[in-house]
């Protein structure tokens, strides 16, 4: 294998890794704080992709602004979904909460896919790139500006999210709810608000992923399937509800996929990935970074 191939595989893997880290970080947050098995996470990715497409192509807004608008829209859609579906479910759910959230979000995913299909049809809405040009590192090794920026956006998104959880009062409150709900209420934290915010934040991360990856994955009604399953793959491998681990895991899975794709051929990368997950879970059922301590950041 020559250096150019290796370089390309690394670039692809790390870029995908950034996306998976964004998506899986959001998913882990939802599970860690709210115990939600969100199977509509991929649909929020699609929301981000569609909004970014319309903002960028239809309205001709600058790329960065289009991506920001898409992230904001996903945040709002997430907040709306939480208030209209998850909150009422929480009020009514007597037991089997996790199973109920799985059923609810799976159904929601079907509804959202079909609504998108009805409204916008099945055609692909993609772009070739937000930003033109390539960065040449050596004569044979280069990376497209578009991909570099997408990766940068993922890194900024993840870092901002991390700092928010660690440093701000509201972030601390989210972590508090993930560790002890009664304790959180007893220091005056409103659980309903935190849960809506958490769902909205997780949705925003997925939407940010969908928007920034628009040149790689075009917007279409079923675009969320693969990112959804892969981010589930990541959070399962690292241990459910662990945000920090999911970020690391996102990059690992991105790289594994990229290399498996090259060496085993298209279509086999999922087989390989799922093979890895089965092996890991056989050896360590709580996941790579799983532990007994409950909390989204503390492991």
């Amino acid at each position: 294998m020559n250096l150019t191939v290796l370089w390309n595989l690394l670039v692809t893997g790390i870029l995908r890794g950034g996306l998976y880290a964004l998506m899986a970080g959001g998913l882990a947050l939802l599970f860690g704080v709210m115990n939600i098995c969100n199977f509509a996470h991929g649909e929020l990715f699609v929301v981000g992709a569609y909004v970014a497409y319309f903002a960028y192509v239809t309205f001709g807004l600058p790329p960065l602004l289009a991506i920001l608008i898409a992230a904001g829209a996903s945040f709002l859609v997430g907040a709306l979904l939480e208030k209209s579906l998850i909150l009422p479910l929480r009020r009514r759910s007597k037991g089997e909460w996790i199973m109920n959230t799985f059923l609810l979000t799976s159904g929601l995913s079907v509804v959202m896919q079909n609504t998108a299909q009805r409204v916008w049809g099945v055609r692909y809405r993609g772009i070739t790139q937000y930003w033109a040009g390539t960065i040449r590192i050596t004569p044979t090794m280069s990376v497209a500006v578009d991909r570099a920026v997408a990766f940068l956006i993922a890194v900024v998104g993840i870092t901002g999210f991390w700092l928010f959880l660690r440093r701000t009062n509201v972030g601390r409150a989210i972590r508090a709810v993930s560790q002890n709900e009664t304790g959180a209420m007893l220091v005056g934290i409103d659980l309903d608000n935190i849960q809506t915010l958490t769902f909205a934040l997780g949705s925003m991360l997925a939407g940010l992923g969908g928007a920034s990856m628009l040149s790689l994955i075009p917007a279409y009604p079923f675009a969320g399937g693969k990112p959804n399953i892969t981010s589930w793959f990541v959070v399962t491998v690292v241990g459910l509800g662990n945000v920090g681990g999911s970020i690391v895991g996102g990059f690992i899975v991105g790289l594994v996929e990229s290399f498996a794709f090259f060496y085993l051929g298209s279509g086999w990368q999922d087989v390989f990935s799922l093979g890895v997950i089965i092996l890991i879970l056989l050896v360590k059922p709580s996941g790579l970074f799983g532990s007994e301590v409950k909390g989204v950041l503390e492991r």
Partner: protein, 253 residues
């Protein structure tokens, strides 16, 4: 200050509180004592809105608390140190305390209270960067009480602080509560450790089978025959889950 009247509440499907009335006035140190399963904890949880009362009213400074959520009641100025402490185990001592002041927006006030909590519990200052989950039992109680104090509450409810602690630590925790009271805090304390509790509180209610069977100044109750027989002598014999006073005699609390 706190006025509970004719409270009825259940623990799960089982009604355990049958018409409890009690009141706590500003600056008082009041105890709620009684055997296991008498409904002491449920009473506190009902006051905090963690258990929905079947009937009866709970008023705080003239405002009714019925129907409010725990976080809203906390914001009225009531701290509740629960039996299981409900700490944030994955966070540092410092973060736990800061979260205690979550509902206050005056940063300077929070910092000031933090200093006074560290002053009251120097061990917490020493361990401020340690995770709450790694503290010892006694330190955890102090952290829970300290977190409750961060709110600068007008009333503190404390549930069984002696539970699971070695006698020496029980005394340390009680000593801290007594100091708090001397500094002007109003406290409603639930305890099974009857003897020590009656020695340091102003007034007490005795709860049995979900009803108040006796109430009055603690010093009177201490001499009461029924209590002597059921709790204190038993406690002195070290039976029935009521630990004997740690130093053998009447603790100089």
């Amino acid at each position: 200050m706190l006025e509970v009247s004719q409270l009825q509440a259940s623990y799960g499907p089982l009604q355990v509180i049958w018409g409890v009335s009690l009141h706590v006035e500003q600056g008082e140190f009041v105890a709620l004592i009684g055997p296991n399963g008498a409904g002491k904890t449920t009473t506190l949880r009902a006051i905090m809105g963690l258990v929905k009362p079947l009937s009866g009213t709970i008023a705080f400074n003239g405002q009714t608390l019925n129907g409010l959520k725990a976080n809203q009641i906390t914001r009225k100025g009531i701290s509740f140190v629960t039996e299981d402490l409900d700490l944030f185990d994955g966070m540092t001592v410092h973060d736990n305390l800061i979260l205690g002041g979550f509902s206050l927006h005056d940063r300077a006030q929070v910092e000031g209270t933090l200093e006074s909590v560290y002053d009251l519990f120097p061990i917490l200052a020493e361990r401020h960067r340690q995770l709450a989950g790694t503290l010892s039992g006694g330190e955890r109680k102090m952290l829970a009480i300290g977190r409750g104090l961060m709110l600068s509450p007008s009333l503190i409810l404390v549930d069984e602080p002696s539970l699971g602690l070695a006698p020496k630590l029980v005394l340390a925790v009680f000593e801290a509560l007594k100091q708090l009271h001397e500094r002007g805090s109003t406290i409603l304390l639930v305890e099974q450790n009857v003897y020590t509790t009656l020695h340091m509180t102003n007034r007490a209610y005795v709860l049995e089978n979900g009803q108040v069977v006796m109430e009055g100044p603690s010093s009177d109750l201490l001499r009461n025959e029924h209590l002597q027989r059921t709790y204190i002598s038993m406690g002195a014999a070290g039976e029935g889950g009521f630990p004997a006073p740690a130093d053998g005699g009447g603790p100089a609390l």
